[in-house]
Symmetry: C2
Subunit: 326 residues, 2 copies
């Protein structure tokens, strides 16, 4: 089974001739229980379920229109056909076998270098924009699956709020998509903390692969993920912020631990990352409920409640605040 | 079974009246495959086997003589009876039920704060000095077991060179002791690198316990340790330095990873630790065979060969060099 088969099965009987243009926005998402390890590299099917929270206002707007030749723009800059990101977009758009070439322009308002998987909001907004351009009127589940074929975590960016990506078991992945939880939690805050702008030494895809192949500790990751997912859902249902924060932080640290135990070692942390973690722990020692999560990069995403905004601003000048449900 | 029973079984029929004095030196040791997790807290029996290399010249000299009252000195300072280390020494020496109180003076030449488990060389030298004071003439195995009752890793400090501590299976631990490997490797060097003098936030004993109790990833640690022990023994037998270095570094990182995945997180690393690790990796990117290991603290111990001494001195000014076999 390949991506093309999956796309065809979803688009059976759907129009392939474009309208004048399609536009859509998709927010980035931050995983509280991480997606770390694939069971199928081709279809981006995960080994474990994951759970994220949408950044609501921060993400990507994509405009697509028919063109004479494929043409991709990112944040106002035209991509060179030889660039890896052009290739990745082209490979994705080719899956849809459209009647005409496409001009695709994405615009992201995510702080550059924040280590926010911008590929999630890019591929989710592309899938949504295609749906509008061709007037497919697909349901959220189908859109989530299409987004996943572009980038795994993009399947969690079709909806807002808390989204659970169930790993599923079908070989074709038709049961592996992001489903929103009904819960809203307006007091929640996310703080984007840029601690280092150094380039990553390794992308998250090869890091994920290397971890699965060489890390002995990774054999325990599925148990960790299952435990944390259950805890997070309990915490969300019961509005238990300490449990949410503790679980999200423990899950992120465990993911990084599986990488640290990989050979050659994968360490995304910079000295400044350790400094920032220690500052979070110092706040907790003072009784403040501030937690963090981290993805495949050196930066931290703080988790806290509205009532602790002044505490966070004081300890982390320059932090960018997001209210995911505001 | 308690410590006292074990000591009694070893000392059956041995004299309990002291001579005039007993003196002994024991070198500190650095584990290449770590001791991390106990199967018996009372007898310091490990969950997994471990393997160390002796620091030869760096360790502890202990002098013991009969006295009117128990009196302990460490590096020229008399210990206050209320101090935790006095209590720990007294508890250990009381196991031997000696006829008279003892004056015990230990002198260590290990760089202060280097994160070298000085308790290993202290308890090994105390066991050796007791043997001389009382003229027990115990064999190495018995001495290693006695040292272990003071501090687990001390059982690897009775002998020099490479020492394997076999975990054993007996409930009384009579098969759990350090046994030297016959191999000598004169080109090996160890570099002690002090990156931070900040006090540890948590001792290694409670850290070990917390990891075993709360880290999901720790469930994979016995597999990691078994794999690494086998690789290290192959590397030593075949004088394969790259394999030795890679395995020791991977093992240390995996141990730290199990702690990072503990709740609350146990992170011994300081920003400077990450900086130093990255410097080691930069050297390797340049083709230099320099590796590190780390124990429950922020400092690094470099592993390299004599031929790379200038490289190490250049990259790490102030490093203290040890030739374990020279």
């Amino acid at each position: 089974l390949n991506k093309r088969d999956v796309v065809e099965s979803i688009l059976t009987g759907k129009p392939r001739s474009p309208g004048r243009s399609g536009q859509a926005f998709a927010a980035a998402n931050i995983a509280l229980c991480k997606y770390w390890g694939k069971r199928d590299e081709e279809l981006n099917l995960p080994l474990t379920s994951s759970l994220s929270i949408s950044l609501r206002t921060h993400g990507t707007t994509t405009d697509i229109e028919p063109a004479d030749a494929d043409e991709y723009w990112m944040n106002g800059e035209r991509l060179a056909p030889a660039s890896p990101i052009f290739q990745r977009l082209k490979e994705y758009l080719d899956l849809f076998a459209t009647e005409t070439p496409l001009r695709v322009a994405t615009q992201s308002n995510i702080p550059i270098g924040a280590g926010l998987a911008s590929s999630a909001s890019v591929f989710a907004s592309v899938a949504l924009a295609l749906d509008r351009l061709f007037d497919w009127r697909l349901d959220r589940r189908a859109l989530s699956i299409l987004a996943r074929l572009g980038s795994g975590s993009a399947c969690r960016s079709i909806d807002g709020g808390f989204v659970e990506w169930r790993a599923g078991t079908d070989p074709d992945g038709m049961d592996s998509y992001g489903a929103p939880l009904p819960d809203r939690w307006p007091e929640l805050r996310i703080g984007l903390l840029l601690v280092s702008k150094e380039a990553k030494s390794i992308g998250s895809r090869p890091a994920m692969k290397r971890t699965r192949e060489t890390s002995v500790l990774y054999t325990a990751w599925p148990d960790q993920a299952a435990r944390d997912l259950a805890r997070l859902k309990e915490a969300i249902a019961g509005r238990d912020f300490v449990r949410l924060g503790e679980t999200a932080e423990a899950n992120a640290l465990a993911m990084h631990a599986t990488m640290i135990a990989t050979w050659p070692p994968v360490l995304y942390w910079r000295p400044e990352s350790v400094e920032a973690m220690r500052r979070v722990w110092a706040l907790r020692d003072e009784g403040k409920a501030v937690y963090f999560t981290m993805d495949a990069g050196p930066n931290l995403k703080l988790l806290y409640r509205e009532t602790d905004q002044a505490v966070v601003d004081g300890a982390f000048p320059g932090v960018e605040t997001i209210a995911p449900f505001a």
